[in-house]
């Protein structure tokens, strides 16, 4: 603008319109055309020519009460926000990203880093926007020299004691301090004294600490207290002696501890297994889904070449917000160990010999034709995707057998009513509950993200939690009602004091654990729970508080696809067993002469019994549909190449069907999905939760009686639940150090 404007001003006395036209620059156009008019409109409406702004990161704004909206001006742009929001949030709604270190949208406000200073009209000093409530008509200025100078001052103080070790820091390249010092930092320091140094803390096998880098934002302290629900971390000392620590040396015993790596704005807390392994700009990110539990957390798999380097969470407000459990984050080294990479056949000497796919499939096809159809059994594993389970069921049905099930669903799964096996409240819906009754489930080890929601609800609204099951530790206040189904019966009959708690609650939620599926009196327990639900008004048109918390990623999809065995004890008379990644199925009663095919990616328990091994791809290497415990179908995407000669699960079954002479009618993954569309169309409705249509009221009355056996813990070791996590060295360290197993 400078030169053009100057030139035009110099030339203004000239009245020759031709000259004027030639020298006019675009910026001075209205002034030159009618100088008097522009003088009259001294303060033109600044909003008219501003482009429409969208909230930062496309955020949606939650208005608790639409009448309570106020208007503030951010850099002259008017925005409507709900009453009570902070200045920083108002700026976010206006599309202005305010630099910050201590503020985090999911933690309480601390207001101690002072990086978010902005100028507010009629305020004598810059204002810390994260802690200041926005008032109607407030004029906020975010890019004025005052705000910039204030932030530069804060940055200079922060950098005073921050080491200059970005080249050896794992946060380098994805560091908030590094980025913001590019915008607000000085090119030289005025601090000539020694920088302070702090002794590193040992927080366990997952989190590496370099405490000298800490800028005391206290995000990790707030995360541990508020989200993880453990009082492990705190702030010690004052002034330059201030440091984050555990006071007495102890490890951080939380199943969510890995998230402090993400929320740390500097490199003070970084990932121990990932330390010095890679730089973030070398990594390829693939947005995928976690399958280590039934929550289906959204993750990004960062890979370099053929190797998964790390797993980080991805935002999904309905499922995992932006956290993931430690198992999800650190199991990835298990993908490199104990992999099956060639088809193998067990010889007469009991040793496996690697063979070609052609030979392996021919052997399996020959054996499957020699047994009677009712002696064929198929078991899908915990990590199976919907496509491969569909193919397995279709193949075995074509062979004449209907003994297909998914492990974890028990001997007699009930797939008739979808509301009987999914979480009807939805994970985010749990936040509205005011009373929880946990029946035989320990959400903290079964589904850490669901537990984080319950913890959040308990913190926010003082919701009451009652628990029936073996003694265990919760990270929120919980009333231990009993250990066995007797307590449940007492509540159902109204003899227990907790019954009145449910009765008085506005929106009670009952969560039944999937460990109950394995019990023989499962139907009786479910009808008892339904009796409580009916009497306590738990299922209403506007609120469905009946939930089942599943354990494995494959369970919900398996029941949707109808993987229900014809008889509960078909394994006892089986001659041909097809294990599709199934390692935890009890094969003790299997006849000795049974032929076992193991299709999977890890050498675990299933392989010990196998006669033929067919190597398959892990979930990081294939495209697969998984349905989580709340009934939301999501898909994984391939991030790394398959190992060795392994193939996708559904392709192996499809190839085997051709060799066995019963060709399955699909050749592409699209065709498999159109087959799924005929069986369970909800599995193709991605990223949308599909609620159950019918309630449990349609179920016929059961005649079974509850047994007095107390509930058992469904998962013994949180860190090792499936073949991938069992092969992981980091998970083994965690079990040894944190669980003392």
């Amino acid at each position: 603008m400078g030169l053009g404007l100057l030139a035009s001003r110099v030339l203004r006395p000239q009245t020759n319109p031709r000259n004027l036209l030639l020298l006019r620059s675009i910026v001075t156009k209205p002034e030159l055309q009618s100088p008097e008019a522009s003088a009259a409109a001294a303060a033109p409406d600044p909003t008219s020519d501003l482009p429409p702004r969208t909230p930062v990161a496309g955020a949606r704004v939650h208005f608790p009460n639409p009448d309570d909206a106020i208007e503030v001006f951010v850099d002259g742009y008017p925005v409507k926000i709900p009453k009570g929001m902070t200045v920083l949030q108002a700026c976010e709604v206006a599309g202005v990203d305010i630099p910050r270190f201590c503020y985090h949208s999911r933690l309480s406000i601390a207001g101690n880093c002072r990086m978010c200073l902005v100028e507010v009209e009629k305020s004598p000093k810059p204002v810390a926007s994260c802690a200041m409530p926005a008032l109607p008509g407030m004029k906020i200025k975010t890019d004025t020299p005052v705000a910039k100078k204030a932030r530069e001052g804060v940055m200079e103080f922060l950098l005073m004691n921050h080491p200059l070790d970005c080249p050896i820091c794992d946060q380098g390249g994805e560091c908030d301090l590094q980025d913001q010092s590019m915008a607000f930092g000085s090119d030289r320091g005025r601090f000539t004294e020694m920088k302070r140094s702090v002794v590193d803390k040992n927080l366990g096998p997952l989190v590496k600490t370099v405490m000298t880098r800490c800028i005391q934002c206290t995000r990790c302290v707030r995360f541990a207290t508020e989200i993880a629900g453990v009082q492990d971390l705190g702030m010690l000392g004052r002034g330059s002696g201030e440091e984050i620590g555990t006071y007495v040396e102890k490890l951080m015993t939380s199943e969510l501890s890995g998230n402090v790596i993400d929320i740390c704005p500097v490199g003070a807390l970084t990932s121990k297994p990932f330390a010095f392994k890679a730089r973030n700009w070398e990594l390829k990110g693939t947005e995928s889904i976690d399958v280590t539990d039934a929550v289906g957390s959204n993750i990004r798999i960062d890979s370099r070449g053929p190797e998964v380097m790390r797993v980080v969470p991805r935002l999904n407000e309905d499922i995992n917000e932006e956290w993931i459990s430690d198992k999800t984050r650190f199991f990835y080294d298990g993908l490199k160990r104990q992999r099956l990479n060639d088809p193998m056949i067990r010889g007469a000497d009991g040793l496996f010999k690697a063979v070609s796919w052609r030979d392996a499939l021919a052997v399996v096809a020959e054996v499957i034709h020699q047994v009677k159809p009712e002696e064929i059994v198929g078991v899908a594993g915990k990590l199976s995707d919907a496509e491969s389970m569909m193919a397995l069921k279709d193949f075995l049905n074509k062979m004449g057998s209907n003994n297909v099930w998914c492990e974890g669903n028990g001997p007699t799964p009930n797939a008739d009513l979808r509301s009987e096996y999914i979480m009807n409240t939805s994970i985010s819906g749990l936040e509205n509950a005011d009373v929880f009754l946990l029946v035989g489930t320990q959400p903290r080890v079964e589904a850490a993200m669901v537990n984080a929601r319950i913890c959040k609800t308990v913190r926010a609204s003082n919701a009451k939690v009652g628990y029936i099951g073996p003694p265990t530790d919760f990270n929120y206040d919980c009333e231990h009602l009993g250990t066995g189904p007797q307590t449940l019966v007492e509540i159902a009959e109204g003899r227990h004091p907790f019954f009145s708690t449910i009765l008085n609650a506005k929106s009670p939620a009952i969560i039944v654990g999937a460990g109950i599926f394995e019990r023989t009196d499962k139907d009786a327990i479910f009808s008892t729970v339904e009796a409580i639900a009916k009497k306590g008004n738990v299922v209403r048109p506007d609120w469905n508080g009946f939930n089942v918390l599943l354990l494995n990623a494959a369970q919900a999809a398996a029941l949707d696809l109808g993987l229900v065995p014809e008889s509960g004890n078909s394994l006892e008379s089986a001659k041909f067993v097809y294990l599709m990644g199934s390692d935890d199925v009890n094969l003790d009663k299997l006849p000795k002469d049974a032929f076992v095919v193991y299709q999977g990616h890890h050498g675990d328990h299933g392989v010990y019994h196998a006669n033929v091994i067919l190597p398959a791809a892990a979930f990081t290497e294939k495209e697969g549909t998984y349905e989580n415990t709340e009934g939301c179908a999501q898909q994984t995407l391939p991030a790394v190449p398959t190992v060795g000669d392994a193939r996708d699960d559904w392709k192996i079954v499809r190839a085997l069907s051709e060799v066995a002479g019963v060709r399955l009618p699909y050749d592409t993954i699209g065709a498999v999905r159109s087959r799924i569309r005929n069986v369970a169309p909800n599995l193709l409705n991605l990223d949308e939760r599909e609620p159950a249509t019918f309630g449990a009221s349609l179920k016929p009355e059961g005649t079974q009686n509850v047994s007095s056996t107390p509930f058992k813990a469904a998962i013994e070791n949180f860190y090792m639940t499936d073949p991938v996590t069992k092969a992981s060295k980091i998970m083994a360290q965690c079990s040894a150090l944190l669980l003392k197993k």
């Binding site: 990161a57 976010e92 994805e174 908030d176 973030n280 693939t286 991805r314 391939p638 398959t642």
Partner: protein, 155 residues
């Protein structure tokens, strides 16, 4: 720069008819609508790459950083993970020319732009839902709210 641009425009005005092609009307483009897959066919791309399955998605914010400058862009994932081994030297690389294109080269401002690009190249695409954060009212005063009587340790 404004001056030089202006001169070009001014010359064009005097030349009259010549300025036509520079006018803002886009009739010429509207008449030749690009049919699906046509751009791919005329660009000399090998046939096997004209029928690909791609995923259109908007990358989520990096969990480790709070800045949102890069959020809201749209990308294409070619789902290319297959490796190819050089038979002579045994070096491993990708055999797929698109292997690094999606991550590094293709970025779009909107979902529609990404979709129309995929359509013009004849790719079969799926669009993944873009998850956005939900802003809820937060207040500093909540830190000092009465949250019930403190509980004694050990109960």
């Amino acid at each position: 720069m404004a001056r030089s641009l202006y001169r070009v425009w001014n010359h064009g005005r005097y030349l009259g008819t010549l300025s036509r092609p520079f006018s803002a009307t886009t009739d010429a483009l509207v008449e030749t609508q690009v049919k699906p897959g046509e751009i791919g066919m005329v660009s000399g791309i090998p046939d096997e790459h004209l029928r690909r399955r791609v995923v259109i998605y908007s990358p989520a914010r990096t969990a480790t950083q709070q800045g949102s400058g890069k959020v809201g862009r749209w990308k294409i994932n070619f789902m290319s993970t297959q490796k190819w081994e050089n038979p002579l030297m045994g070096w491993t690389s990708t055999g797929d020319p698109y292997a690094n294109v999606g991550d590094a080269a293709l970025g779009f401002d909107s979902e529609e732009a990404a979709k129309s690009f995929a359509e013009r190249h004849g790719w079969e695409y799926v669009v993944r839902k873009h998850h956005t954060p939900l802003l809820k009212v937060k207040s500093y005063a909540d830190n000092f709210k009465f949250k019930g009587f403190p509980k004694t340790e050990g109960k």
